[in-house]
């Protein structure tokens, strides 16, 4: 589903990722970890084509991401749900509309949108905040909305960047079980985090990023 072959990425001449190769199979749930500034977010950006690789090849859901034309990028992104580290919620839209937007882009019918959004709001236990604007939510609540928006369109790939950075342990556990659920429905999930507690004892594959390369691969 996600396949990196010899991928490199430089920023201003400094390598952030160098000759990275790995494969995430369809239906897998895997983690990327490593200290702050190691390149976890950069790696995810390469997958959804917000950055272009300086070398190597990236195949995501059959698309050769590095060679994608500008006009084709939206169609790749419709297959990829993203939990952004910096949230990117729209402050002039209610919680409901923020999530619904992802479906509008998919050209879904209004009635269907309503049903789907309400369901996902129940899943993240924020149905009562439906008509609230995001700036009136706590950091943790916002984080859950971002997760909801990423998964509501049932993408084939789900990328999550530090999805529990603003959550206490209880809520974190809750969110992680949500990810497992989505994964069970067939979505490939890739989670970037520095929080070892998230993958300890899960039995999932963990890629350890360190100083521009994948240092080791282990089972969490």
């Amino acid at each position: 589903m996600i396949q990196f072959s010899g991928v490199s990425k430089y920023y201003d001449g400094d390598a952030v990722l160098k000759d990275i190769s790995f494969t995430i199979e369809k239906g897998e749930l895997a983690y990327i970890t490593g200290p702050s500034g190691v390149g976890k977010t950069t790696l995810l950006k390469l997958i959804y084509c917000a950055e272009r690789p300086d070398g190597g090849q990236i195949i995501v859901a059959g698309w050769d991401v590095g060679k994608l034309k500008q006009g084709t990028i939206p169609f790749l992104r419709r297959n990829v749900g993203i939990v952004f580290q910096d949230f990117r919620l729209l402050f002039n839209k209610t919680v409901f509309d923020n999530i619904a937007l992802a479906l509008r882009i998919h050209d879904m019918q209004p009635r269907e949108i309503k049903e789907t959004v309400n369901n996902v709001l129940k899943d993240i236990r924020l149905k009562h905040k439906e008509h609230v604007f995001p700036q009136h939510l706590s950091g943790g609540e916002q984080q859950r909305i971002v997760i909801a928006r990423a998964m509501v369109s049932r993408p084939t790939v789900l990328l999550a960047d530090e999805p529990t950075g603003n959550l206490d342990m209880d809520t974190s556990r809750n969110i992680m079980s949500l990810f497992r659920e989505i994964n069970a429905r067939g979505t490939t999930v890739l989670i970037a985090t520095h929080n070892n507690a998230l993958f300890h004892g899960t039995g999932r594959r963990v890629l350890y990023l360190s100083n521009t390369h994948i240092e080791k691969e282990a089972v969490g």
Partner: protein, 294 residues
């Protein structure tokens, strides 16, 4: 299709939400178009008035007092053959006196005291419109004045050159003003749409990341720009019509001829204003939205 509906909804919401700034933009665009179209109308009117005058422009060829009827006919034949001359009118001594009498009005009685008619007979020549350039006319006049039996050639030298200069000034002014206002209108819409664009900049960045196509992102802004242009165009068309009616109504009191002289902008011109407004605003919006890069 659903994209269009959604874009329309978004545009409508934005138009309503930002009604004041939209209203001011529409008014500014309307004022710009009004000034532009008023100036165009004035130029059109002046130009058509000039053309009329030019049409009436004639050379008066005064004949020697002692010319025989035959010689006069000879001259007339000559003028009629000349391809540059499109109208030849003979004015006899008697007609000349009658005209003078009319000019004198009340004081015409002095003419009664005359024993003999002191006025010469003359030809009034009309030149082809194309030739009404000061220097061409001058050459023609000199040429005619050298003919046998011609005493003098008179024509409104000063006026002719004035009319030409005035017409040129007005047309140059219209083109300059037109360009300036065109740029201003495009810019005003650009500015307003850019504001909306910046207000939604974060939103647009996010939309891009969520997989929205360029059309999905751009369409609401273009619709809003189109709306502004059409509304501005309509306002200025209505205002132009109002001003034109008022002037031809009020003006008729001052100068009854004004009604006959004034050229009303045709229906097509009003449509053109609206279309021009729409086109300018759309252009401004297009530039404001800019290239969308993922």
């Amino acid at each position: 299709m659903r994209t269009l509906i959604y874009a329309l909804q978004t545009a409508m919401k934005s138009i309503w939400h930002e009604k004041w700034i939209n209203l001011l933009t529409v008014l500014s665009v309307g004022i710009g178009l009004l000034i532009l179209s008023s100036f165009a109308t004035v130029t059109l009117n002046v130009d058509s008035a000039l053309k009329r005058w030019a049409k009436g422009f004639g050379m008066v060829v005064y004949l020697d007092g002692d010319l025989t009827g035959k010689a006069e006919n000879e001259l007339k034949r000559l003028f009629l053959q000349d391809p540059d001359i499109i109208g030849v009118k003979y004015i006899s001594k008697e007609q000349a006196v009658r005209e003078l009498r009319r000019t004198l009005g009340e004081n015409a009685s002095i003419l009664d005291e005359l024993d003999e008619n002191p006025l010469p007979s003359s030809f009034e020549l009309k030149l082809k419109r194309e030739l009404l350039k000061p220097d061409v006319v001058k050459k023609k006049a000199e040429q005619i004045s050298r003919l046998k039996g011609v005493e003098e050639v008179q024509y409104g030298e000063k006026w002719l050159s004035s009319l030409n200069t005035l017409s040129t000034i007005l047309k140059t002014g219209a083109v300059f003003l037109g360009c300036a206002i065109l740029v201003a209108i495009v810019f005003i819409t650009y500015n307003t749409i850019k504001i909306f664009f910046y207000r939604r900049k974060d939103e647009i960045e996010t939309l891009k990341l969520l997989g929205a196509t360029r059309t999905f992102i751009r369409l609401p802004f273009l619709i809003e720009g189109l709306f502004i242009g059409i509304a501005g165009g309509l306002i200025s068309a209505v205002a132009l019509f109002g001003i034109h009616s008022m002037i031809s109504f009020k003006g008729a009191d001052i100068l009854p001829a004004i009604r006959a002289l004034m050229v009303a902008p045709p229906m097509r011109a009003y449509m053109a204003i609206v279309i021009a407004g729409a086109a300018m605003s759309l252009t401004g919006s297009f530039i404001a939205v800019g290239r969308i890069r993922y």
